[in-house]
Each structure stands twice: as C-alpha cells, then as structure tokens.
C-alpha cells in the first residue's frame, strides 16, 4: 500500500517549500497537505512520499510528525470529534459530555466507529473556554454544547 501525493498536493508542497526562509519550515504545512490526502492520518508511506518531494530525509520529517498532536498516527473516522476536557470545560461538564458522546455512538475514545464515520477524542484546551463545553469536529468549533445539542450536531453531519 503505497501513498503518492496528487498533482495538486505536490504543487502545494512546492509552494510551501519556497514560502519560508528555510525549506524545513515547510515540513509542518506539508504534513497537513499529505494528511488530508491520506484520509486524515499519516503513516510511513506518507512520510516517504513527502521526503521524496521535499528532498528532506524521512527521519527528519518523522521526528516533526511525531512531536505534534494534530498529526494522527492512527486512522481516524471521517469526523474527528475532539472534546476539550481541560479545566474551564471540565468545570462545565465536558468529561461527562465526552463519555456521553462515546456511549451514544457506541464507541471508545480514539477508536473509529464501524461505519467509519466517527472518532471521539479528549483533547486539551482549544481556546474556547468561555463557551464551554465545546468540541472541534475536523476544522470547526462547536460551542456551548449540551448532551442533546452535541448529539444532534453529530448525527446530522454529512
């Protein structure tokens, strides 16, 4: 199972390579590009494909990849549901909310639901503490949640 960047992806990576003072600075943005094309996660094949396009050793890219939590080391569902369980959210019932979502979706934290639609994770503060509890689903924030509103949002996701 090998991975190759699309034409469009290669173009984006090349743009990032010339955007910053050094080409290493393009590693993070390029990992985002590749992760998106690989359905939301990164494995060795992805690292090697990037290494070739970027002409940066795979070990160097791998080191960066492993350091940052926004790069997924495992497969995730189509909708990655990240519930903040840090302090301001915890004071407003976010851990109970996270457990509720798992129960309703019949899944465990950080696993993919059998239909491939969801992965539920607990994450640290997302800078949305005044509208707790909150969750991030893929790129979007959903704030001031209740158990009901969160489930309605998730069930309606296309």
């Amino acid at each position: 199972m090998s991975f190759n960047l699309s034409e469009e992806g290669i173009k984006k990576v090349k743009q990032e390579l010339s955007r910053y003072e050094t080409k290493e600075s393009a590693i993070i943005p390029s990992l985002y590009v590749a992760q998106k094309e690989n359905n939301g996660w990164v494995n060795n094949d992805v690292i090697h494909a990037l290494s070739k396009v970027m002409d940066i050793p795979a070990s160097k890219i791998n080191e960066v990849f492993k350091f940052y939590t926004m790069f997924n080391q495992k497969k995730v569902g189509k909708f990655h549901v990240q519930v903040c369980t840090n302090i301001s959210c915890a004071l407003n019932g976010s851990r109970e909310l996270a457990s509720h979502i798992c129960r309703e979706l019949k899944t465990k934290f950080d696993e993919v639901t059998p239909d491939g639609r969801f992965t539920v994770s607990k994450v640290e503060c997302l800078g949305s503490c005044g509208t707790a509890p909150m969750m991030q689903v893929n790129d979007k924030y959903y704030e001031n949640l209740t158990h009901e509103s969160a489930m309605n949002l998730l069930r309606g996701m296309k």
Binding site: R19, Y20, E21, T22, K23, E24, S25, A26, I27, I28, P29, L31, Y32, E63, V64, F67, Y68, T69, M70, F71, T85, N86, I87, S88, A90, L91, N92, R95, E96, S99, E124, C125, L126, G127, S128, C129, G130, T131, A132, Q136, D139, K140, Y141
Partner: protein, 429 residues
C-alpha cells in the same frame, strides 16, 4: 474614564475588513509612526510601561532595546499560540480585529527595524488563520505591506505560520524551534531571542495583545496610556473569564480592576445557589486563590504577585463550591504531563509523577504521605529546567494542596470526594 482601547469597536462586524477598520481609525497610527524615528517609537513604548500580555509581563520597550543596535536582519514573531488553558482573548482579537494586530505589528516592526514577521498561530485556529490571511492580503493590496509602505521607504513582509498542536510551542524558544521546522523544543537561554532567535538572528517575540496595544500608545501617547492602570501595571488588558460564572467571555478593563468586580459585574456572578470557592487568576499555571483572597485582589501584576500568584495571560478561571479540587488538580496534572516536551529530567519525570500520584488519590488508592510526596516532587521541579513549563506544572500543585488540604486528606481517608461524595468513576459517568 472610558477604559476600552483595544475592544472599542469589536461589536462592529465591519471592523474585520480593511475598509471598516479604516473608517474607525484604522492605520492612522501607522502613517503617524512611519513619520517618527524608530527610536522615538521604542522610547514611547518604553515610557508607556507596556508589559507583555503573553504571560510573563516583561516590559516590552525594554525587550526591544536588547536588540543589537544595527546591521543584521531581524525578525518579529507574533505569538498567537494561545495554549494556556483558560485563555481565549487572542482568538477574539484575531477574529474581530485582524487589522488591528497587523497595524500594531507593522509599527513595531518599523520600530525595531524588521523586514519580516510571522504570526505563529496554533494549528487548531483554522478560522482565525483564514481571517488573518485575508487581512494580510488586503493590507498588501492597500500598500500597507510589501515595498515602500505608504511611501516611507520602509519595506515589510508578513506571513502566518500554523502550529500543529503543542502547548510548548507557546514558549518563545519552542515557537522558534517549531518555526524553523523542528520539534517545538525550547532552547537554553541565554542567548535570548533578541540576540539570537529565529535562524540565530535577532528576534523579538511578542504576544498578540502586546503588539496590538502598541497602536494605542502611538495614538494617545505614553502619558495618556499610563492613565489606565497603575505605575507598575499601566494600560488596559483583556481578561478571559471562564468556569462557573453566569457570563463568561473576554472583558477589557484597566489593570488593577478588582477581581471580584470582574466576576460579579462583568461576569454576572455565580450560578443560582452556588458560592465562589476558588479562582485561578492567570491561566492554569497561576497558583489558585481562595474566595477570601479573591475579595482582596486587584488585577495587576504587583497585587497578584504579592499574593503569591500571577496575572499571567489574564485567564480568570472561576471555580464554585460544587467542584472537587482533587478532581480539578487531576485535570491540570494530566495537561502538564501531556505537554512536557521531555528534554529536562525534572520536568519529564516530575510531571509524570505528579499526575500519577493525583490520579492514584482520585482512584481511591492514595496514602496520606502521598500529599507530602506531591509537594516534594513539585518543589524539586522548580527553577532547574530549560523553560518555565516545569514551574508552571509545579505551582498549581503546591497551591491546590496547601489551600485545599482538607479535600485531599478526606479523599485519601475515604476514597471519595469530600464535595461530590462520590468516587472518581462515579463522578464522570
């Protein structure tokens, strides 16, 4: 006296775009600043007493003066990593007023002689990043960025860089490592970034709110800016109010504003039937205060430092009497353990131990001597690491344990929470 400087126009949707921003005083100070001598701007910022809004409260003008006098390219980095739990003011500033930040940055860049700046934004902030990118394009189109800005002969380029989910990249040297394309690990200081920072070139790192405030110092002058706040804490500040209050949100008030007023007036007080128990006044690393201490506190650097805590990022986290302090400390120790970058042994091991001990208490397996062990481990983590995360992890532990000791002792003896009456498993299912 009207105390809103930064947020005066935040209720206006049009303030986000360049036209609406200009209609409401936007880029007037940039034109003014470009006619000043750079040193004059630095002197004005110094005279204003502005202190960094990112957490440490270091005087901004003084930091700028650490740059080598001439030669060498130098960088301006805006710290928009905003990872300190409880803090959400920079997000508001970027979303509501991207041009205010850009203007503050161009003025600051001109003052320090920087031709290139980056705004390092935490990766989760997709929306703020898109708002900033659009605003930067607008600024280029209007001749406010790029070559020969407003005919002044000053050139400046600005770009946004997205982080990827690591709290430690908010620490300035961690941020520099990250921007250089490496793991976001902090670097030993000295050399300080002002001497050797990004790509080993002189670099100034400032928080979003700090850089935006520069505009108002140029607008009103240092003396007028100093009419807000106190001698040692001049100006206004955004406070991110969260936790168990009726109206959480960002509120701009003059420094030295009474903490209890922020909670009761701006924040609408406690929820019905609940009482104030504790407040973390400056983001999760600031030592916790009891309700009695809160009554006496004002929101300025010196008052909070005098009370053994800190203003930090201005994140005021309110905790009511229904909350278990052992449980809340567990949230914090988990966070610091997760975020330690692992370079320094006291931090890597210490954060792990703290989290393990608090969770063993929460799971009903604690022993009385574990409470002292927590204090001992925390004490050994202070002041001996590359960056301040280790201290930041130790401080909440020491304050929680000393101020709410009865809750820890009860939990150890009974295997359940004194406040909730239940075990950890029962609390969260």
């Amino acid at each position: 006296m009207e105390s809103k400087l930064l947020t005066e126009f935040y209720h206006l949707d049009e303030f986000r775009g360049i036209e609406g921003y200009k209609k409401n005083g936007g880029y007037v100070e940039l034109a003014k600043a470009l006619k000043m001598q750079p040193q004059q701007i630095i002197d004005e910022v110094k005279a204003s007493g502005l202190r960094g809004r990112g957490g440490a409260g270091f005087p901004t003008g003084t930091k700028w003066s650490f740059l080598p006098k001439n030669g060498e390219p130098r960088y301006l980095l805006c710290n928009a990593d905003e990872g300190e739990p409880g803090t959400f003011k920079d997000r508001l500033m970027m979303e509501r007023a991207p041009h205010q930040l850009i203007e503050g940055m161009i003025i600051s860049a001109f003052a320090i002689g920087s031709k290139k700046s980056y705004i390092y934004v935490r990766g989760e902030y997709h929306y703020p990043i898109s708002v900033l990118e659009k605003a930067i394009r607008e600024a280029y189109d209007a001749g406010l960025l790029g070559k020969n800005i407003l005919g002044s002969g000053f050139d400046h380029d600005m770009d946004v860089y997205s982080g990827a989910g690591a709290y430690i990249c908010g620490e300035e040297t961690g941020m520099i490592s990250s921007l250089e394309g490496a793991k976001g690990q902090p670097k030993l200081k000295p050399p300080f970034p002002a001497v050797q920072g990004y790509l080993r070139k002189p670099t100034i790192v400032n928080n979003v709110e700090t850089l935006a405030a520069v505009k108002y110092i140029i607008r009103d002058g240092a003396a007028a800016y100093r009419k807000h706040g106190t001698e040692k804490s001049p100006g206004t500040k955004l406070f991110s109010l969260s936790g168990n209050v009726m109206k959480p949100g960002n509120y701009e008030v003059p420094l030295a504003y009474p903490l209890i007023d922020l909670i009761n007036k701006e924040g609408g007080g406690m929820k019905p039937g609940r009482k104030l128990k504790a407040v973390i006044p400056g983001g999760s690393s600031a030592p916790v205060m009891t309700a009695a201490e809160v009554e006496k506190a004002t929101l300025d650097y010196e008052c909070l430092a005098g009370m053994g805590t800190m203003l930090g990022s201005g994140a005021v986290i309110v905790i009511d009497d229904s909350q278990c302090m052992v449980d809340m400390l567990g949230v914090l120790t988990h966070f610091y353990h997760h975020e330690s970058c692992g370079q320094c042994t006291p931090c890597r091991e210490g954060t792990g131990w703290l989290n393990k001990i608090v969770h063993s208490i929460l799971e009903g397996k604690g022993r009385l001597q574990d409470i002292e062990l927590l204090e001992k481990v925390a004490d050994n983590m202070k002041g001996r690491t590359i960056c301040a995360l280790s201290d930041a992890a130790a401080l909440p532990v020491l304050s929680f344990v000393s101020k709410f000791r009865d809750e820890f002792e009860f939990y150890v003896r009974e295997g359940r929470s004194k406040v909730k009456g239940t075990t950890y498993a029962e609390m969260h299912h």
